[in-house]
Symmetry: C2
Subunit: 237 residues, 2 copies
DNA sequence: AGCTTTATCAACAATGATGTCAATAGTAGT
DNA sequence: ACTACTATTGACATCATTGTTGATAAAGCT
């Protein structure tokens, strides 16, 4: 007590605002993965980032500001990786879809993205953050993906519902895999690390085999308890 | 201060411990769906349940005790619905798999279960709760499901990897659908409510068509960029 | 009726997290 | 060097949440 001015002899590390924000977001992301949402207390995050919590508030305005920035950062990262998956093989020849699916699974089922999905799901429906920009970008990307899958080299374009459902299947399975991986591992399914690319390749084979059959009627009246169309296509090879 | 005794004139509602706990868990589940994890503050939950937060603590020991009980309750409910899906069609004839898949999707992609999955994912890896019992039960159920899918009436039993991957595909897709449904809806894929059973039926068709082809070798060397095996060899037995 | 048990609650205490503020110390520009 | 700007921080203030306590009231039992 009684410290009017002792001429603080502290060595301060002065970062640029961009660096400081990046350090905070890195620490926050790491803490989110390691300790869940409870790990995002600004005091702890600031300590991990090497600054006081007051400085963190100075850069992000508030605790919620930091969370919103983290969501935005993680969303941007997810989107960037998604773009990388799509842009990898521009012409999209026949068997390249398998490679793309393997990458898509590896990307979407990543722990960071799984945490982001889970976070957004657990958060109240209106978190106050504006995802309009990302929605627009993602919609364009999805349209690109759909069109790319739909018509390949030479072959006649696929049925619209088929491609739509196929893309939904791949995306939902990859996302769900990220969520359920520890559980599936405990259950004995999909234990080893190599299982995921194998699974992705298998899914690709499955979709590919479907594509080579005659375009079916898809599922028209599926709301009945019995699907009804045991034989939906008159061929069977 | 100095209120020795004013003879409180309050009308107290006295419930049995089981009723009180059930009321709390109901309120907590509703608040979790409506407001996310922030909605689980014991004061608000107790108010919704019609009691003081002190009473809530009296029944659950602590705030974390309530959360653990909620996780256990929701897990039990999920498991019960899962069992209901499996037990519905005992003999599992050929086309009944489609109906079962529709139910499986409807069940696993339900909002409550999606919230549970997301919660458990966002929570630190070791939440201190013991899921050993549920793990054992679920493992048995999964074994039952796998065996049931693997060998049907008459037909030769399916390849083990095929059934395993098929089950993984269905489960992960259903779980991921629960997580990504609002997102998919915003994206224009899977908008209408009837889309989900249609999608489930389509997945069932897809798996069924695969089953009727010659059993492939699944994906062996999938780590290469090109999957490579257009023609698979039937060794693996 | 009395007695015992315990579910209930208002009030208090304890803890912790968020946000504010004034002062300090780097950095750049003059 | 001096100045302006601002990133940084310790200390404080504020608030919310959790947990405790003693008393009270509802129910069951003899």
């Amino acid at each position: 007590m009684s410290k009017p001015a002792v001429t603080g002899r502290t060595k301060r590390l002065r970062r640029s605002p961009a660096e400081a924000r990046a350090a905070v977001l890195d620490a926050a992301r790491a803490r989110l993965l390691a300790h869940g949402l409870e790990g995002l207390k600004i005091t702890a995050v600031a300590r991990d980032a090497g600054m006081s919590h007051a400085t963190l508030i100075h850069h992000f305005g508030s605790s919620l500001g930091m969370r919103d920035a983290l969501i935005e950062s993680m969303t941007a990262e997810l989107l960037a990786e998604f773009v990388a998956v799509l842009d990898d093989e521009a012409p999209m020849p026949s068997e390249r879809l398998a490679a793309m699916l393997v990458k898509l699974f590896a990307t979407l089922s990543d722990d960071r993205h799984a945490q982001l999905f889970a976070w957004l799901t657990v958060e109240p429906p209106q978190p106050g953050i504006d995802t309009g920009d990302y929605d627009r970008t993602t919609r364009d990307l999805l349209a690109l993906l759909l069109d790319r899958v739909r018509r390949r080299d030479g072959a006649p374009p696929l049925d619209a519902d088929i491609t739509r459902f196929g893309v939904v299947l791949a995306v939902t399975s990859a996302v769900g895999l990220g969520m359920a991986r520890p559980w599936l591992s405990r259950m004995g399914l999909l234990g080893e690390p190599g299982d995921i690319p194998r699974f992705a390749a298998w899914v690709s084979e499955l979709l590919e085999s479907r594509r080579q059959l005659a375009t079916p009627s898809s599922a028209r009246n599926a709301s009945r308890s019995s699907i009804g169309n045991e034989q939906l296509k008159p061929e069977q090879r």
